[in-house]
Structures are given as C-alpha cells and as structure tokens.
C-alpha cells in the first residue's frame, strides 16, 4: 500500500489521513513510501507489487506514465492513481473536478471581498494548478464580472511547493495591490500564504485538506479535495477495487468548500445560498465550469 509525498498540510497529507482512517477502522496495516527520485517511482511500484501489496494507491499525475508500464506486469494487483487517467484493466483512475470546487470558492471570495480584488497563489506553474486558477476566476467573475483576480505562482521548480517564505511574500504583494481574499493552491507554500493573510488581517482560502483550523476566523474556507475519501475507499475495496475512471466531482463529494466551526462566522447566509445555488447548477449541468486542461485555455482572464 503506498503513498507519495506527505505532510504538506494539504494534498498528500489528505491521502495519508484517508489511509490512516482505513487502518484504524480495519486494524490492518499499510505501507507508505515517500519517493525521492524519478527512478524510484517505478522501483517502488514494482517492489510493492512484488511484496504482495494490494491494492497500491499513488497520488500525483507524475505516476501515470510509470503506472502505464508497471500495471501490465502485475495483472493481479490493483492500482489506484489520483489525479490522472491511466487506461489499464487493473487500474482505477481517480480524478477530481478541481475547477468546480474552485468555482465555488471563487464565488465566496468575490462575495467576501470588499475591494473587488481577490488573489490566487499557485505553487509550481503547471497545468494542474491552472485548472484551479481558471475555475476560481470563473467563480469570481460569475459574481461580479468586474472583479480583479491577481494571479501569482511561486516558481517553476518543485521547490515552489515548499517555499512558505515566498508564498507569504507573494501574499503580501497581493495585499498591497488591494486583494482581500487570497486562494492558495500551493502545497506547503500555501502555509506561508495563509499566515501572511492572517498577519495582514485579510481572508484566505486553503486547498485540498480543510485548512480552516490553521487560522480560525481568518481562513474563509478551504477548497477540499477529498483525497482522503478516495484513498479510504480504495483501501476499503481492497483487492476488489473496480478499475476504470472514477470522477470525484461535486456531486460525488470529491470537491467542496469546507464549512466548519472555524469559518462559521465568516460565511454569510447569502454566501451559503449562492454556493448552494451554484452547486445545484453545476450538478444539473446548467452551469458549466470550463476545465483548463482540456484545451490549455481559460475563458476568463
């Protein structure tokens, strides 16, 4: 049983929590491996498969290519991959509709903003994060087409996921440009963003895991991506894991704005209503949120 990366307070940590929950409930054990190099992806998958682990779950699209190679070699082992589609008979591909969740938090951001300017801080500048950004921008503009979205990325190397200092600096820059709600989709860097927002007395939006508790009353919401649920389900299914693509969308509870005691005071009834409405719209298809990765373009800037 496997995971990749851990403790970033969002994405990978969520996966770990899912696995933990399963382990606690079932009393069984799972094995986790954090990879250190590209070559280890294949190595780890094979070793785990050989050791009899079943199913094997991995997080991150970077595994896709390798999984395409490894999965056929172990037809009896079930694999699950988050964030990418791998078409193999023994692989379950779990994808999230981040654009939908981001759209919803975009609506909240626009409604919470007094200045009409909101911010987005992405981690590494890659398409996946543009998907967040684009959904968010669409949400914001749906409330007020004139609202401005300031977009920043931490960097172009994997270090961009782990530079809270830069994250906080970017956030401060956005604050000085008038942003009063900032959405951080930046892994470990996001911690710095939320901190800077709290220091600057403005609102922030967390990502992946529910990060509302980090700065109670100052994190508007978190765009949760229920990787924990996904992983939990994978482990629960065990060897009976169904192959194919599993879309974790709004309807399936895959993505959602986090509402809890920490942000209860921040979320106005109007906001809640707007979110509920949009949720319905998306679920019944009347609102279509564009997915950046389908054409590498975003309808709103």
């Amino acid at each position: 049983y496997d995971l990749g990366g851990k403790y970033d307070k969002s994405f990978n940590e969520a996966a770990w929590h899912g696995a933990q929950r399963w382990a606690k409930e079932s009393g069984k054990k799972f094995r986790e491996v954090e990879i250190q190099s590209e070559a280890q992806r294949e190595q780890v998958l094979k070793r785990l498969a050989q050791s009899g682990a079943n199913p094997i779950a991995m997080t991150g699209f970077a595994f896709a290519d390798v999984l395409n190679k490894v999965a056929p070699e172990f037809p009896k082992t079930k694999f699950a991959i988050v964030d990418s589609v791998v078409k193999q008979p023994n692989v379950q591909s779990i994808v999230f509709t981040e654009e939908q969740g981001s759209y919803l938090v975009g609506i909240m951001a626009a409604m919470a903003s007094k200045t009409g300017t909101v911010g987005f801080i992405g981690g590494m500048d890659i398409p996946l994060i543009h998907k967040f950004e684009c959904g968010y921008a669409q949400g914001v503009k749906s409330v007020n087409a004139k609202d401005k979205v300031i977009v920043n990325y931490t960097g172009t190397t994997p270090a961009a996921w782990n530079d809270p200092v830069k994250g906080s600096e970017l956030a401060k820059g956005q604050i000085s440009q008038g942003a009063d709600v900032i959405y951080a989709a930046a892994g470990g860097t996001g911690v710095g963003v939320l901190q800077a927002a709290a220091d600057g007395k403005i609102l922030s939006i967390g990502v992946d895991s529910d990060q509302n508790y980090l700065h109670p009353g100052q994190v508007l919401t978190s765009m949760t991506k229920r990787v924990d649920n996904a992983i939990y389900n994978v482990f629960k299914a065990g060897a009976n894991l169904k192959p194919g693509v599993k879309v974790m969308d709004l309807k399936a509870g895959g993505v959602a704005p986090a509402m809890d005691k920490y942000n209860a005071k921040l979320v106005t009834p109007a906001m809640k209503a707007a979110v509920d409405k949009a949720t319905k719209g998306i679920e019944d298809g009347s609102i279509k949120v564009h997915d950046y990765t389908t054409d590498n373009k975003c309808p709103v800037e």
């Binding site: 977009v151 830069k166 710095g192």
Partner: protein
C-alpha cells in the same frame, strides 16, 4: 506605477533582502579571513529549524533565536574543524554541511513533531512581531514621507533592524579595530599574520563563529519572522544567492547591503510582475521568475568585471618560508 506600489515593492525588497544581507555578511567575515563558506545555506537552514522548534516549544522567539544561533555555530564549528584544524578542503566541507543540514533538520523535525519534518505553526510570542517605530502612526498622514516612514521604514521585525545595523557594525569592526585589521590580513596573507606573532587559527575560528552567529540570525528571521515555522528546505537557495551577492559586493560591507537589496528588489519585482503582456508579445511567468538570475549575469558581465577575492581564500594555512 503608483507611489504605493513602489513603496510596497521596496517594502518587500527589505523583507526578502534581509536574510540575504545577514548571510552575505556572514560570508564576508568568513571569506575575509580566508575561509570559503558555501555552507551558508546549511547554517541558515539548521538555524531556521532549531529556532522554530525551540520557539514553538518555549513560546519565546528570543529563546528560539538563541537556539538558532547556537545550532548555526555548531555547524560553523564543524566547518572550522574541517577547514582550519584539519586543513581539509573548504568547498567539500561546505557541501557536506549543506547536505547535513537539509537531512538532519527533517530527520529531527520528524522525530520531534511527527509532521514530516516541519515544525508546527508559530504564533504569538513565538514569532518576532513587527515593531512599529515611534511616530509611525502620527506621521502616517504626511504625504509621501509618511507613507515611506510608516510602510517602508517602520513595521519590520526587529531582526530586520539588526540586519541593517550589522552593516555599519561590520564596516567598523573590519576597518577600525585591531581585530578587523588582523582578520583582513589573515585572509590575504596568513603567513604575515603568523610571523607577526598572531594566531592564524584563533583568528579564523573567531571569523567563522561570527559567520555562525549571523547565519543563525538569518535562519531565525526566515522561520520565526518571515514565516511562522520551519519548512523543509525553506532557505530555498538563499545561501547561494548570498554568496553571489558577496562576490558582487567585492567582499565589502556597504556594497553587500547594495548587492543583497538589489537581489531582494529583483525578487520582489519578479514576484509582483509575473507575466507581462506587451501587445502581441506575452512574456511567460517562467521568464519573469528567471529575470533576477538573468539580470545577475548581465550585471556581472557588464558592470562588475573581475572581482578579486581575498588572496588566501580557500587555502588551508600551512607554514612555509
């Protein structure tokens, strides 16, 4: 570009430039004494970790600072042992220290906090809060100057002011005191110092200790002031940039201020303007994030020319006639 924007960019420049400045001055002391120090990065990193860890546990940022300085000095001492006492290769030692720091921080961090190598978030007294200088509020209304005073000059962490004060202090120590004279001499010609009856080893160790202290402050600033806690590899190459700045500054304190603030400014600007559209031309984010590095090369090639390092730099001192 409005005045506000300029002030906020400069404000960010100061924040981003301060750790570079402290590290750069650390490198200055070390290299002026003839010890190359590519271990700045590692020393900052351990300091960032231990300061955050201790600050979290004690809830006191000042204790954190002490711990940061102490840990950085331990690493400085290892470097000294290797490069002074045992006359090893200073570059190897520096590389080793950087690796050691990035490994040990996560290892211990995981062992202590079980958060994958990071420390829990710091809050309240465990962080250095920004200090408002006197009259900042009162002067706020004054056009331009008020803004500059309130935003730019006031309202930084105390460590920022420490960093800036270190510049004249370094200058004074280096050029106005006996210690400074000997330090500069030992980096140029240790034999001259030795034959003059002064201990080369003691001088170099003290230089390295000062470097340890300054790196300790720099690391603490990163984790207990700029950020609220330690993150893996949170120095993110700042030690190397500080070294670049040091060469840029030709190993002089005031120039070091200029060079590090220039790097801070480049960083701040590229943070602010991540993409630029000029008509048809779209300048991508990747380019803007590389701008500080490109500019460094251009400036180096165009304006700085040959920087002459302290002559005895990198060479262990062995007696000869």
């Amino acid at each position: 570009m409005s005045f506000d924007t300029i002030v906020s960019i400069l404000d960010s420049t100061i924040r981003l430039g301060t750790p570079l400045l402290l590290a750069c001055l650390a490198g200055l002391f070390s290299e002026r004494s003839g010890i190359f120090d590519i271990g700045l990065e590692g020393k900052m990193l351990v300091a960032a970790f231990f300061s955050a860890a201790v600050a979290y546990v004690t809830g006191n940022a000042w204790l954190g600072l002490l711990a940061g300085i102490a840990s950085s000095m331990v690493f400085a001492f290892i470097h000294g042992l290797a490069s002074i006492t045992f006359r090893g290769n200073q570059l190897i030692s520096g590389v080793a220290i950087n690796m050691l720091a990035s490994g040990i921080t996560v290892l211990i961090g995981q062992h202590w906090f079980h958060l994958g190598g990071i420390t829990p978030a710091l809050s309240g007294g465990a962080r250095f809060q920004d200090v408002a200088l006197p009259f900042a509020q009162a002067l706020k209304g004054v056009p331009y100057l008020g803004l500059v005073y309130d935003q730019l000059i006031s309202g930084h962490s105390v460590l920022v002011y420490v960093g800036f004060l270190c510049v004249p202090a370094t200058w004074w120590v280096l050029f106005k005191t006996r210690f400074g004279l000997r330090l500069r001499a030992v980096g140029e010609n240790p034999a001259a110092v030795d034959t003059a009856g002064v201990s080369v080893v003691a001088l170099r160790y003290s230089a390295i200790a000062i470097a340890g202290i300054l790196c300790g402050i720099a690391g603490t600033y990163l984790s207990c002031s700029l950020a609220a806690g330690f993150g893996r590899e949170m120095t993110a190459g700042r030690g190397y940039i500080a070294l670049a700045a040091l060469i840029f500054a030709k190993w002089r304190p005031w120039y070091a201020l200029g060079a590090t603030m220039l790097f801070g400014l480049l960083d701040a600007v590229s943070n602010r303007y991540q993409t630029i559209d000029i008509g048809m031309l779209h300048i991508p984010n990747q380019f803007m994030s590389a701008v500080p590095f490109i500019l460094t090369v251009v400036i180096l090639a165009g304006f700085v020319g040959k920087a002459i390092p302290p002559r005895a730099g990198g060479e262990p001192y062995v007696k000869e006639r």
